[in-house]
Structures are given as C-alpha cells and as structure tokens.
C-alpha cells in the first residue's frame, strides 16, 4: 500500500517531539477524524531554524508530518509556504488515493503555525 519512502518516514520519523519554547505552534485535525498534526517551530529572522511534530494518525499522516519537518527546516518562511501537498506526496513516492487527504494536513499545520506567528489567526 505505502511506498518505501512513506514506510521509511513512518518507521524513522524525523523531528518527532516538541520544542521547549517554540516561537509558534500549528495544529490541524481533531480526534474524531482520526488525524491531528501539531508542529512546533523556532523561527529566526524569517528562517525556520528548528521544527518538531506530534501526530495522531495513520501511516500517511506520520510520514507527511515527518517529511514536512525535514523539508522546511532551514528554509525561510516564504520558501516553506511554497511547498505544496502535491510536492509532499510526490517526494514520498506517491500516496494511496484514499490517503490523499492526509497529505494536506502537514502543509495545513505549517500554514497554521506561520499564520499564528504572523498574528493572522483568522
């Protein structure tokens, strides 16, 4: 079902956990849907210097979280926001059709974190 890359991220997730004093936090999902992703970010001069995640969810949710953190670490906020769910799915070697919605979650959580950072919490 899952590609090797998904399984690699699922088995060895990068950047799991939380940060002590994050500059911002993003969260999407809720337990009834079966997915929650939390991202904790350190941001220094528009650059994401550190990032960690916590995920309640399926294999795809964990793997997309893990890859997202890996991809954005060291990037500027602008660069990070340019990463699309499609990029994520592709970099993971594809996701099963019924799991595509999971690949939205990590990018949504990132957007939420950055919105919070910028105070645009609409």
């Amino acid at each position: 079902m899952y590609s090797e890359k998904v399984m690699d991220h699922f088995q060895n997730p990068r950047n799991v956990g939380d940060l002590e004093n994050p500059d911002t936090v993003g969260e999407v999902g809720n337990p009834s849907c079966g997915d929650i992703i939390q991202l904790f970010l350190k941001i220094d001069d528009e650059v994401i210097t550190d990032i960690k995640f916590k995920t309640f969810g399926c294999g795809a949710a964990v793997a997309t979280s893990s890859l997202t953190t890996e991809l954005v670490k060291g990037k500027t906020i602008e660069e990070a926001l340019r990463i699309s769910k499609k990029d994520i799915a592709e970099k993971l070697g594809g996701l099963p059709p019924n799991k595509m919605h999971c690949s939205n979650l990590a990018t949504d959580a990132l957007k939420d974190a950055i919105d919070n950072y910028r105070g645009e919490d609409e």
């Binding site: 079966g34 309640f56 399926c58």
Partner: protein, 394 residues
Amino acid sequence: MNEIYLDHAATTPMDVEVINTVNKYMEDYYGNPSSIYKTGQIANNKLNEARKTIAELINANDFREIIFTSGGTESDNLAIKGAALALKDQGNHIITTKIEHHAVLHTCEYLEKHHDYEVTYLDVDEKGFVKIADIKEALREDTVLVSIITANNEIGTIQPIKEIGTFLKNKDVYFHTDAVQAIGQIKLNVQEINIDLLSASAHKIHGPKGVGMLYIKKGTKLVPQLNGGAQERNRRAGTENLPGIMGFKKAVELVMENRQKYVEKNSYLRDKLINGIEKSIDDAVLNGPRGSKRLSNNVNFCFKYIEGESILLNLDMLGIAASSGSACTSGSLDPSHVLLAIGHSKGTAHGSLRLSLGKDNTEQEIDFVLEKLPGIIQRIRDMSPLYIKEKERS
C-alpha cells in the same frame, strides 16, 4: 521472518485437507450439475452430499434447505432482500442492529433507498448485546424480517440468539441471522433456535474463498436476487462451483470434528492475550464481553490517544498480521460503527486493534505479541499530541 497471522476473523488460511479436496474436484468433476449425462449427474449428487453435511452442522431438517452462494455477503443480501421483497404485501419494516456486518447494514440501506423499506437499527449495550425488550418494542404490525448477527466479527459478542428465536416464534416475521463468524465455534441448531434464514461463509472456517451458503427453512418465501438459470431450485442462478462447495463441505467436516478442541485452545490464548494486554498497557479498553459469551478467538482493544493503522503498520513490521476498526484502514472518515455503537467516542474508536485467533496459532506467538505490543503502543503514544494532553491534564 515467520508471519504471525492474527486476522482469522477476516479470512483463514485453507486447511490442507480442504485444498486437497478442492483439487480433486477441480481435476475430476467438471460436469455441470444441471445436465442429465453422467458427469453432470455425479456432480449433482456431490452437491447434495455437501448440502447434507452442512445441514448436519446446523441441524437443518432437510438438505434441500441449504443453498450455495458466493459467500457470506451474497447470503446476507439474498436473505434480507429476498425475504423482504417476498413479504412486501405484508409490510415494509425490518429490524436489525447497529452492530451488524456491512453486508447486512448496507443491504438494509439498499432496501431503504431503492424499495422504501423502513429499518430499525437496534442499540446494543456497552458489551454489544441486543436486548429482547428492544426487539419487542421495535416490532410492528408491518415488520417482516428481523436480522441479528449471531456473533459479532469485530468484538466477538455472541447474541442470545436462542432467546431471540424463541421470542420471535409464532410472530409473523422471518428471523435471519448472520452466522458467518459463529459456525466455526458455536454449535447452532436452527430448528431449536427457530431460525428461518442463516448465512455462512466457507473462508472463515479454513475453507475456500468465494463460497457461502444460506439456510432457507422449508416454506420460507424468497425472491431470488441472482436471476438466471434454474440452479439451486430456482433460488440462486449461476453454474455451481462444485470444487469450492466440496471444499466447504470438507471444512465443515473438520469443524464438526475439531470445534471443541480449537475453542478450548483459543479461549485459553484469547484470555492470555486479554489479561496480558490489560496488565502491561494503560488506558487499554477491552471491547466486547469476557468469557463464554465472547467468540473464543476474538480479542479487541481500544488503545487511547492513538490511531489503529499505526499500530497495524508497526505490528506488520514484526510480521504480525492484525486488523483495526480505524477509519483509516478503510479509507472512510468514520471509525467502526460497532465501536461507536458500544459507546466509544470517535477518537477512542480510531485506536482499536483486533487480534483474531485461528486453529494454528501457538502460545509462543501469543507470548511474542505480548512482548512486543506494549513497546509499540508506547512508541506511537509518544508521538501523539493527545497522549501528552491527557497526561498534562492528570
């Protein structure tokens, strides 16, 4: 890495004797049972022998009350649609439960949508039991059919099917039961229980896939759902799958021979698993009852704060095959309707794990699972935002 297969409620490996039987019939019995030449007539006689064996399993009065189908799903569809449509003039109300298999639930929904039937989905208690009082209350003038699963495939609850049958006796409704999970483990007597229609499936008892049967008590009206040739006394069209059916027969013979032995063995392993998990893992909620009212091969837990698919993937990495009522394993958003029906929140229901035993599982396998599972659950919980939140709260 050897696989530890703990998903026997989904499907079972075929017994080697069953494989040999299917083989023999593939090789030597190709005749069409509806034909009058010898090879056809021989095939037809064999079909009837298979009916006799299955009639014996459930103590049907007459082998002609057994018809063959393509599996449990088709049997459920035929029983429910067939009986409901046959009694259309008498009423359009059906009673079933919230914890039926989808083969029953979605069939009822089909009747609601395409034939204007009304369906009452009975609640169950927190262990998954239906209450006779609820059936009584739900019964109406226009009720034509009551369909209640003998034993639940997810949480193993065995319904008081005899009491239900006795209660329904002399009421003017048909009583159908989905015994797909039950026939391998529970001695059923359709005459004593007063059942009109009973579904079963071969591949759940180490038989072949794609073969099922429906018991249709003599005199029960049924509108056929697979229309075509005159096979199965005009109740189910389609060239009969003799090799598969003979494999089913063999599997049933093995059930009659070994049922008690396996039930004892599995009950022991089941309880070892349940006790071991409860001892080693916090916030693990057993789903379904304990003891003799639980299928001897069923273990089902909700592990709070985590989601089931992650558990399955981690188990799979160790070669352990299991299943979950998590929505993510089915591609929908809603977790198991059974777990919701017994009172779980969606969040908790997402974190379920079903381990279902089979005749060949060993105590070592169970020990291995008990050794590995706590670490897996902990690892996933450590990743979970819910777990932290709960701990902070306390």
